[in-house]
Point group: C2
Chain length 489, copies 2
């Protein structure tokens, strides 16, 4: 059996400690206390200035189908503790069997630009249920957000020229490939090579031929001619199997033959060597031969930095094929998002704030039930305010960076603003419809355009102002002091 095409329940797609904690909550009568958890990341990936939220639709699907199947429970019944006795009591399985997602969930829609500490997802549900969702939500949101962000950066470097995602063969597993194709598309990639992503997700797919086609013939001229004969309406000739510029000449011959037969050569692809030099020479050869419209596709270990450098060198590449470095986010293959408890009801049903301390200030969490309000000024973004809905409306003062209280910014309340976290589930009922992927892609583009170029800069970007309001800041500082004092007693 291929675990990747597993057809059963995914309730066990979680870490064992979520289930042992769930059991503990159930045994100790805490399972039903309502709790609020935030899913957020602490640091922007790729040393960049922004991230692009993605993966929500996958999370929604997970939640809609969340239930423990009989074989899940019979597997759990086989687990033993250090005394050889069962880890879980039988009655717990009856409890799990009837469990469904019955909470509230708000989330920032896919394709939205997001920043550290902002909750991408907020869950308010019975403690036991929310706890069980930590691992799957992180798995689904972390990776998609990472790849959508990487894709947005690569597309930014390509300056509007098409980017094709080619990474399936190096992706981390089957849905490593599928999920990265989806997220890359949200981030701005025009198409993928992944046929299954085309079939399942409706993403445009692209592809023509590889070196093996040329090698199967041995003779490149014959190989191109035969390819053109077989598939005249999809001709991008890969020209670097033996000698690149000789390959361009052979492609031009095939292009003339295609033209004689009433077809059109789409272009050529360069997959190795000095892409700046070779693309300039190839462009010259193509133009001189009467193929000014033939595209030059470049591929070979590309990422946003290589594309930027090639553009600076005047490379004549018009389509960018990006594989491994996009599909795995090669320079930072994990986002590091976390899912933290921020508030919980006590026995009397009153909400209490919760904080997790850390010796590193940046790892100390923000308590409450957070909402994010993005302010706009003359069509551009001005800053993001996080406030605690348990404390009511935000106060109108400055926002304060929770990791650096000296960084403050005044956002006038009369500015236009938008609330980022949208209702997705209300008491377990889905109240949101994910837009088509193409709309998410358009959203990403529109969102990024509203940020100042200095925030969008690929390296050493300007920090965009994100902070909490003073009311929440004061509460948090008090909680930090109290917890520290408690420790010292």
């Amino acid at each position: 059996m291929l675990p990747t095409v597993y057809q059963g329940s995914l309730a066990l797609l979680t870490d064992l400690y979520q289930l042992t904690m769930a059991y503990g909550y159930w045994k100790r009568q805490r399972a039903d206390r309502l709790a609020t958890f935030h899913l957020f990341f602490r640091k922007l990936p790729f040393q960049g200035g922004y991230a692009v939220a993605a993966g929500l639709e996958l999370a929604i699907d997970y939640l809609r189908h969340f239930r423990f199947a009989d074989d899940d429970l019979s597997y759990l019944a086989t687990l033993r503790g250090n005394d050889g006795r069962p880890l879980f009591e039988e009655e717990f399985f009856d409890y799990l069997a009837q469990l469904r997602f019955n909470g509230d969930l708000e989330a920032i829609p896919e394709g939205t630009v997001v920043f550290p500490n902002e909750p991408l997802v907020r869950v308010t549900a019975p403690l036991l249920v929310a706890q069980l969702l930590e691992t799957p939500l992180l798995n689904l949101i972390n990776f998609s957000t990472l790849i959508a962000t990487k894709s947005a950066r690569i597309c930014q470097a390509a300056q509007g020229e098409p980017v094709l995602e080619f990474g399936l063969r190096r992706a981390q597993g089957i849905d490593g490939g599928l999920t990265s194709a989806r997220a890359a598309y949200i981030g701005g990639a025009s198409a993928t090579s992944n046929v299954l992503a085309g079939k399942l997700l409706g993403i445009p797919i692209k592809g023509t031929h590889a070196h093996s086609w040329v090698m199967a013939y041995g003779d490149e001229r014959e190989a191109f001619a035969d390819y053109a004969a077989a598939m005249p309406n999809n001709c991008v000739f890969l020209v670097d199997t033996y000698d690149t510029l000789e390959g361009v000449r052979h492609a031009i011959e095939a292009g003339h033959e295609l033209r004689r037969r009433g077809h059109k050569m789409v272009g050529i692809r360069l997959d190795s060597g000095d892409l700046a030099y070779l693309s300039i020479e190839a462009r010259r050869l193509l133009d001189e031969a009467g193929f000014p419209d033939a595209a030059i596709v470049g591929s070979s270990d590309l990422d946003e930095h290589v594309i930027q450098s090639l553009k600076q060198q005047g490379a004549k590449i018009s389509v960018w094929g990006v594989g491994t470095r996009l599909a795995t986010a090669y320079d930072q293959p994990a986002l590091g998002g976390v899912f933290k408890l921020a508030a919980i009801q006590n026995e009397a049903g009153e909400w209490e704030h919760r904080i997790k301390l850390s010796e590193q200030r940046v790892k100390t969490t923000i308590p409450g039930r957070l909402q994010v309000r993005r302010y706009f000024k003359e069509g551009h973004v001005a800053g993001d305010l996080m406030y605690d809905e348990l404390l009511g409306e935000p106060d109108g003062g400055a926002i304060i960076d929770p990791s650096d209280p000296l960084r403050r910014k005044k956002l006038k309340p009369e500015l236009e603003s938008e609330t980022l976290l949208k209702p997705i589930f209300e008491q377990g009922e889905l109240v949101y419809q994910s837009p088509p992927l193409a709309e998410m892609q358009a959203r990403t583009q529109a969102e990024i355009a509203r940020f100042h170029p200095s925030v969008r800069r690929l390296l050493n970007p300007h920090g965009y102002p994100v902070g909490i309001d003073q009311k929440l800041y004061r509460l948090r500082e008090e909680m930090i002091h109290e917890t520290r004092q408690m420790e010292e007693e």
Copy 2:
């Protein structure tokens, strides 16, 4: 629909160009020519001295179920070329519909130590079929081999102490998590936190509680006591939610209470801060309190280098929890394996060698139908000989490093030897049974032990001798010269 739990055919888990090439082969009457492809990588990952093959069982499963479903074909029928007309003729779909894997496949079993240029998988099949398998085989073998190798390195650094794989939340998708749990286990990890991997693959699973358990209570003492009350046979207390050493003291209290009730505290877990200092202090506290057997689990961005450093600092960690850096192979998240044509039948049914040139010598392929013979001397490995079965038995001279002809080594033919590529499919029929995962894990351990410590060194290892025999070396050099000359004509 979650693409990750897709229940249908996986024949479309491929790049579009494999299908357009397949179509071309079919149209141009080359589909049925037998061809041999090798799947190999060119460079060891992680700057290490060895890799561990993995993923074969997944590939076998893929091949056994390889077929185009009706909805695959109806999707392909929707694709259009640049003239708006269908990419594929209708008759091609009838051809695809009856296609099964009907070739020979040899592979190096999972858990075997492997080196650059060695075929991990060798496919001899009709050109069209072999071509279609490039992407899925790479997807399945690349990632598993990468993670098994990473896991072996981490386990090596842990010097026999248990390593737990905790990476699901940061893994690249659902089967990024499942596949990495499987490969990490083959590489030597004792257990995973991933419950689904436990259920589906039978891998031992581990887990107790997270910070959120403590935060849900607010008071750490009460939290530990309640956890111990709920699940007395699975107590590893996470002690760093507020103050680590205070947490250890609270765990000790809970440990005493467990003991009074006839149970045993398994240990504590440290998840942040200076693990060297904290583990030494925690060990002292535990020993003084009468818990010399309590384990200290360490986690927090660990990899082989951090573990090695902690050991050098005398850290008293006895169990290593490794997440993101193992599950994503953080410092090199893709292996870069390729699948290259090396021989093909001509029209007359005679085998012809094929080579792919490159301006980089290391990227020029090795032609032929390669087999790998590993030689042993006094229980240790002596070197790997690659030879071409189309040229017959290897000659008895020295082996020559294909990327550096000055590196040669004589391997006496009378040495004990083993042939690494084993028959898996013969004319489409499965002739191999994958051993249980625990056997693969044992194999990895036994394999690695037979290599000299200088080859196993985590950084700057000694290069293990791998080369081709002189007969194949001469053929390859001739082919390189001929192809270059052909280009110059």
